[in-house]
Structures are given as structure tokens and as C-alpha cells.
Symmetry: C2
Subunit: 286 residues, 2 copies
Amino acid sequence: MDDAVIPVTDWGFTRSDVVYDVVHVHRGAFFRLADHLDRFERAMARRRLVPAENRAAIEDVLHRCVALSGLSDAYVAMACLRGRPRVAGSRRPEDCENHLIAYAIPWIDVIPKDVQARGAHLWISGTPRVPDASVDPTVKNYQWSDLTSGLLEAHDHGYDTAILCDHDGFVTEGPGFNVFIIKDGRVLTPDRGSLEGITRRTVLDICADRGIEAAIAPIPRAMLDDADEVFTTTTAGGVMPAARVGNRILGNDRPGPITMQLHDAYWQAHDDDRYRTPVRPLAVQP
Amino acid sequence: MDDAVIPVTDWGFTRSDVVYDVVHVHRGAFFRLADHLDRFERAMARRRLVPAENRAAIEDVLHRCVALSGLSDAYVAMACLRGRPRVAGSRRPEDCENHLIAYAIPWIDVIPKDVQARGAHLWISGTPRVPDASVDPTVKNYQWSDLTSGLLEAHDHGYDTAILCDHDGFVTEGPGFNVFIIKDGRVLTPDRGSLEGITRRTVLDICADRGIEAAIAPIPRAMLDDADEVFTTTTAGGVMPAARVGNRILGNDRPGPITMQLHDAYWQAHDDDRYRTPVRPLAVQP
């Protein structure tokens, strides 16, 4: 990984003009790889980023990264960067040579496992989430300043991580994860300011399968105070329970029962052949 | 420059957790170097970034970059990146090893000189500038998504570059520059959504010296339609006249007279010893 570098003058860095995605490998198989590639392709198209590789070639690169790493559980990142202008001195994005980067590294939990076990303590950030009209949150991006501000506030107050609300006081997401609340058996996740997470979608799929009422809906901040359970979701962590939100202790100060049911179902879904793409051994790779 | 790289896993890239500054060298001397370093230090402090080098050491690095490059006119960049966690797997900014990067490259004009000569055509972007409460625009950062969106829109419509307004319809800045309007001899620049530009400050200083009325003030979008002259300012370009804004042609479709007076005064200020810091020859460097 020490050899995986980008130029300091790449606009992917100097303008954060880059989209990315992260898929994970669990016990030797990608989880919902096609969904991640769909989202990555949509994000590139929205930012008019066109790498040299087509979708099949990108998929080959990801298989190869994982196979070369020898990892059976991995965090697999892909990004498309604006690159640098073909014409020296140009300030036009249209003049740049876009390029793909990808790598596989050992599995990382966004929230450490011991914190997940006791339930995360979530700070409600005073920094408002960047509005969707300014930066589309469904285009997965590295522009984390508001999320990092929330994280620093959370740590200042002894919390694990943060939830951000938007300027109108609606719940959005946190640094690297979607947010869910459960109230009276109903599972809700925000309709704004949020990535369309693949783990989020898996949770909604599980709810549909099991007849648990669930919806993507506006969530005013006050609903956090009133929730029976709160959890967060991300590729790098799955379903991650919370035990405290702001100054409120949820239930018994531990992960809630519906959350744990969804958590277990999420990991069971990893055995579902609809979602699994076994990593191709190097020998059969192009 | 091809050897100047950062790891793909540096949070300066993957979270755009980085602040930067750019100072220019004109005829062998830095222009307002102390002011750039002041601003860079403030930006680092706001984001709690602490590189290994203190201010004097950073200044030495910049002198050394320029002297080694042999350039007498240069674009000199410095950035402080969050870096990577000292503890593998940590997601805490507090655990990262912050680090400085710096480089000197040939002078770049943000708006090409021929476009400056005829007066730039500025598109008024439909993408609202990220609000100050979410991302502090006075902390110089690489999170350009909204600015890049404006730039792409501008190019789609055959314009050179763009001005962004905020959610409330007030003028802010453009991709890499501050905005000024002149109305009835009065020079105005936005009080929000904008970097505290050093070139902007120099223009305000020149106005004060010459008895030209000038102010930092709220500028509703409608004032763009009503302005006598419009210009933009940046370190990498100086005072850059506009000839068209949106569907409006200013004056005679060419740079305005007060703009050109400020333009000339700006370059004359480069002879002022208060602003000049001659680049130290390598022989006298530490």
C-alpha cells in the first residue's frame, strides 16, 4: 500500500474532484458487488468522470486487488479522480485525464467492535450537513469537512461519533454511515442529506422480507429524542447499534432488540447467493 | 513534480481533511508572504492540524522550493494534511500524523491572460455555495464540488467561469477567486461565503490609499445586474476584469476603467518593500 500514491497536483486531491465507492469482501466473496458498481457508475456519470476502464475492466481490477492481497475479509475501495490537465496550465475539468484507483486492505470497522457491542454513543453535531443542492450526498465523495467537524465535537464531549442534521433540523447521516431510528416497531431512515447506502438498502430489504414496517422519510431532530432504538449502517461495519444519542440513554443503555435482529439478519444475508460474488482466484483472471 | 505524491489512504485525500494556501513569487520575491503564512496558520489551527514544522521552518521550506525550482515567477503551494492514523484501523482524526507538503511550479493564471484582456464572461451558477456554517470558507480548502459544478455549468453555456450565490441569493465567490462589483464609483466585495483573499485585501488597501470608497458588504444577486463593473481577484491572476455577467454585457463589453486602475495599482504594489520578501538564494539557506 505504501506504493499506492497520487500526485499532489491531481485535481482528485486539490479540488477533491473525485467519486468513490467501497465494497467489502466477506469470507472470500464480494457482498452486493453489482449494486456498488451501479452506484459507482452513477456517481462518475453525475460528475462527468470517465476512466479508461469500462465496468467489466473495473470489476476485473477489484477481483485482482483482492486476490493479490490474499485477504478473505477485505475493505475494497475504488475511486475515479479528475486527474491533471492534458494542456499545461488549463483550469478546465474537461481537459483532464480521469483515472481509476483501487485497492484492497484488511477489513475495517467504522465503529470499533467493542463500541458496537455496548452500543455507540452518538453526539448530535452543531455543524449542519452540507445541503444536497450544493453537494449531492448520493454521489459518494471525500468532502468530509462537515462530518469531520461533527466527529471532533463528538470526541470533545466523550462520544464515539456524531449524527449531523441539516439546516432545517432534519436528521441526515454521520461520518461514514447512514442513520436509522425505530419507534413503535417502525424502522425509519432519512430521506435527505444522505448516501443511498447499500447496507441501508439491505436493511430495508430485510424489513420487507420479515414484514417489519420500514420507510425512507423525513426525520425531524426531535424524533431522535423520542426513538426506541437507533442504529447506524455502513459497508465497513454493517448494522451498528447505538446506546446513547445526545444526552439520552436508549432502552437499557445497550443495543435494542429490533436492531440486533436486523444486525443478525444482515450477516446471515452474506450467505445469500443473490448477494455473493466469490473472488476469482488469480489463476482464472484475465 | 512527478515525485511529489501522497498515499491514496491519506485522510488529506480520502476525507479532504486538509487546508492549504498559495503565495506567488513575482520577479524573485514573494508577495505578502507573512499574510499568507498568517492565514495558513489560522486555517491549520481551526482544523486542529499540527505539522512537524513551525512557522519559521515552513517559511524555510517555501524559500527552498522556489530557489531549487529556479523560477523567478512562481505559484507556491503549501498544504497541511491530516495524514494517516498512528494506530492501524483508527477512525479518529486525533490519532493521525499531520504533515506538510509544499511545492513551487511555474506561475498559473486562474483565468487565461487573453480572457483577462477581453474581460471574462462570468456565468451565474445555479448551484448554491456551501453555507459558511457547514464549511468555513475562510479556511482555505480543497472541497470544490460546488465550485466545480459552477465551472461545468459555465463551460456548458460557453462562459469562462462562474460566480456562485448562497442559498439566500447573496453573491459569494467563484472557483478560485473573490468577486468585486463597482457601482457609482463604490467598490464592494461579499461579506459571506468567501475566502478572505490576500489579493482582495490588497485591492481594499489600494482603495483606501487612493480614496476610492470600498466595503465588504452583503451583495444580493440583483446587484450583479446593476453593476457598472465586475472583477475577480486571486493570487494566481491578480485583478481579473469581467466583461459579461450572466446575460448582461458590462459597459463596452470590455474591462472597466476603475477595474483597470486597480489592476495596474495591484501590479505596482509588487514593488512596495512592505509586501516583498526576496527569495533567499540556496547558498544562504539553512
